[in-house]
Symmetry: C2
């Protein structure tokens, strides 16, 4: 295959006819597949059915310390559930708070806390307009939180090593810049793990805002696809070296370990932050669902148990990622109209198509029955400046569905590029 | 027994010696009992063990509409779970949102929403100092929410019919008064159910603040102790007659139906409010724990199922409330040093002791090993102006423990009164 940019108008026409015909044949097949979100497949959910049976009349409902998990009490979560996350994230149990089933909810609530009661300083809401740094492309639901609270988002490009730290270090000189969202491991959607140097530079930042906060959304902390997955440098010891431990709040959950609809989520933070957050929680709730924490603790056991558990997810996910990447390699290599990632973990393959073509590709796929993540969703305010970024989520479809969908997607990428080139 | 106020100093001395000796004997027994909160007993929790087994590999994890409850999706909750609450509260399923395990959390979050994003108007946080009306005595955790958000609390006395509406109607002429907390049925701690007239007056209020909100915490909506329990007038149709349906947000939970540590909680609201709250939720969470919603739906079934279920709780609770009330009747009638309630539902017996004695009674009980709710907790800022109100929570102890505890409590009430009278 040759570079599309080198083709004459006649050659483009010929290519277009061929690709269009294949696309139309596809369309006639009336596929119906939603690939818009990083949703675990049924096979992955079936893996975790033990969790439902781990707490019942037979197995009992008492935590190791004797707590009857059915009743009131225990504000910050069961110790045995904290252990799983503490060991996996490299912090102490005292640095963990276990909440409900959604880390997004905890992040939202933490920003809400900063808005009304501050992050050690004045409430953010009373400080006039404030801003957050958003590495792009990124996670749409992070952007949604900022939008809800009317926090202006400033884009910073992601490099191979993580966010462009030169730009970040410049932006934090503005005291109205109050924070930054990061997915430091297998980032959504790029699959990039921040380099040790990036983690160290983040941990040693001296923002003008004394109440600056890093939302360290470690959503894919144990979510390797390959056997020797990426290693993320633990940010807390690095932050401590710089007296910056209060600047970081880390989040994780079992949404993609056990059940997205019925997992547990945690935050990890410094002693000061845990105190501040727990003081709020005391007014907010008597205790989160301890029975569900107990279910997870009994099945996942500890850090090592969790690592073993995740190997079974990897076995299900790996063939799916291979289909995506191999399809892209096979159909799009050498055409000069797209670039894509070969992620080693996480939930997404990032596909950058020709500038001005992402919306069209998503539209073409939708018209043929395959829903992709909305073009633009990976940028604040849904504004992808190049209209080029597409997020592919391989986890939910079956292998056969995924093969079909990838055939469609690569056709759509070619078709959109040809339309664009013929248009010029 | 005769009025303490009619006794001479010598008679008081004699009484004091007698009561003090009995109290000291009690103290020597080294009891250890925490009666500070309205905690269901183990027997009540054991009633609900079916809930744990209602969702598993055998019984499946799909909702009636086919939703796999293990996965992402479904923002406002499972329809079959909404049905239970809608039928019990007298609203439509569309007026219900099912959340996590804590109605306190939903109330906190709703106030938080009003603070940062307003209740249809400007964010409360940007409107300068604001106030809430708090009927007293009331629920300490409501006061805690106001304190956290720096909302000034204004006391309004509870009458036999509910809050003193003359006072309420006066207070709402101030546009900085933004809301009122109510426990309209079997109120905490008085056990009063608001009269139809009170509900109608609340529903027809015209507060100066257009963004005024009633936090209608219907915590004990199906929590009768006697067979023919109180009936609370449904506030929504009354509010609708006055175009006031957006002024009311209702809350309920299964904390005292299934498990305080692992139940489900809901809010009920007008179409406008549901829209506004759901728009926020879209940024806040992908969906609450649907599996736990399914567990509850399968066991509780519907409004009628819930009513039947609650009869079993009543059978456990009724003897406990009888012990409390009979002990008070037996030991304190005619002394002129205390008044108490004979509640028909809810979780508390309200005990008003001689002015200036509540703290001392709680202290005397604590010294003899029985922890009561802190004196003052039933008032904002922990300030009971008369130092007379004590909340008794009969649910958690066994019948034997409760008998013992009540013997201690009535002794302590007498001892504190005698100390006070001898002191004068």
């Amino acid at each position: 295959m040759s570079l599309y940019s080198g083709l004459s108008q006649e050659q483009l026409q010929a290519q277009y006819q061929e690709v269009k015909q294949q696309y139309d044949e596809f369309k006639a097949r009336n596929m119906h597949l939603n690939m818009s979100r990083g949703k675990p497949s049924t096979a992955q959910l079936d893996m975790s059915l033990d969790i439902f049976d781990s707490v019942n009349a037979l197995n009992g409902y008492k935590a190791k310390d004797g707590t009857d998990c059915r009743n009131y009490g225990n504000l910050t979560g069961l110790d045995e559930c904290k252990t799983i996350f503490a060991q996996s994230l490299g912090v102490q149990n005292d640095n963990i708070i276990v909440c409900g089933n959604s880390s997004l909810n905890i992040m939202f609530d933490y920003i809400s806390q900063c808005m009304t009661n501050g992050a050690g300083g004045e409430p953010w809401m009373l400080q006039g307009p404030i801003k957050f740094i958003c590495p792009v492309p990124g996670y749409d639901r992070h952007f949604g939180i900022c939008e809800y609270f009317n926090i202006e988002m400033v884009n910073v490009p992601m490099l191979e090593s993580g966010p462009d730290m030169d730009k970040v270090e410049e932006l934090i000189k503005d005291s109205s810049v109050k924070g930054m969202f990061c997915v430091p491991k297998y980032s959504n959607p790029l699959g990039i793990t921040f380099s040790d140097e990036t983690v160290r530079r983040i941990a040693s930042m001296k923002p003008a805002a004394k109440d600056f906060r890093i939302i360290w959304d470690n959503a894919y902390f144990v979510h390797d696809i390959v056997e020797d997955g990426d290693t993320l440098l633990n940010i807390f010891p690095e932050a401590e070296k710089n007296g910056n431990e209060d600047m970081i709040i880390e989040f994780a959950s079992t949404s993609k370990i056990s059940f997205p609809g019925a997992g547990v989520a945690v935050l990890a933070a410094s002693e000061n932050n845990i105190k501040q957050i727990a003081a709020r929680m005391k007014r907010q709730i008597i205790g989160y669902d301890k029975i569900n924490q107990l279910r997870h603790a009994r099945v996942l056991k500890d850090g090592a148990g969790l690592r073993e558990y995740m190997k079974r997810h990897a076995a299900i996910l790996k063939p799916k990622f291979e289909i995506v990447v191999k399809s892209l390699d096979r159909d799009l290599t050498g055409l000069g109209i797209a670039e894509w990632t070969h992620p080693r973990g996480g939930y997404f393959v990032n596909l950058d198509v020709m500038n001005g073509c992402a919306k069209r590709v998503v539209e073409l796929c939708a018209e043929a029955g395959v829903t992709l993540t909305g073009a633009g969703a990976t940028y604040p305010y849904f504004k992808d400046p190049n209209d080029s970024n597409i997020r592919i989520a391989p986890s939910y479809p079956s292998l056969d569905e995924l093969r079909e969908a990838m055939n469609l997607i690569t056709l759509a990428v070619r078709l959109a590029a040809l339309e664009k080139l013929m248009d010029n």
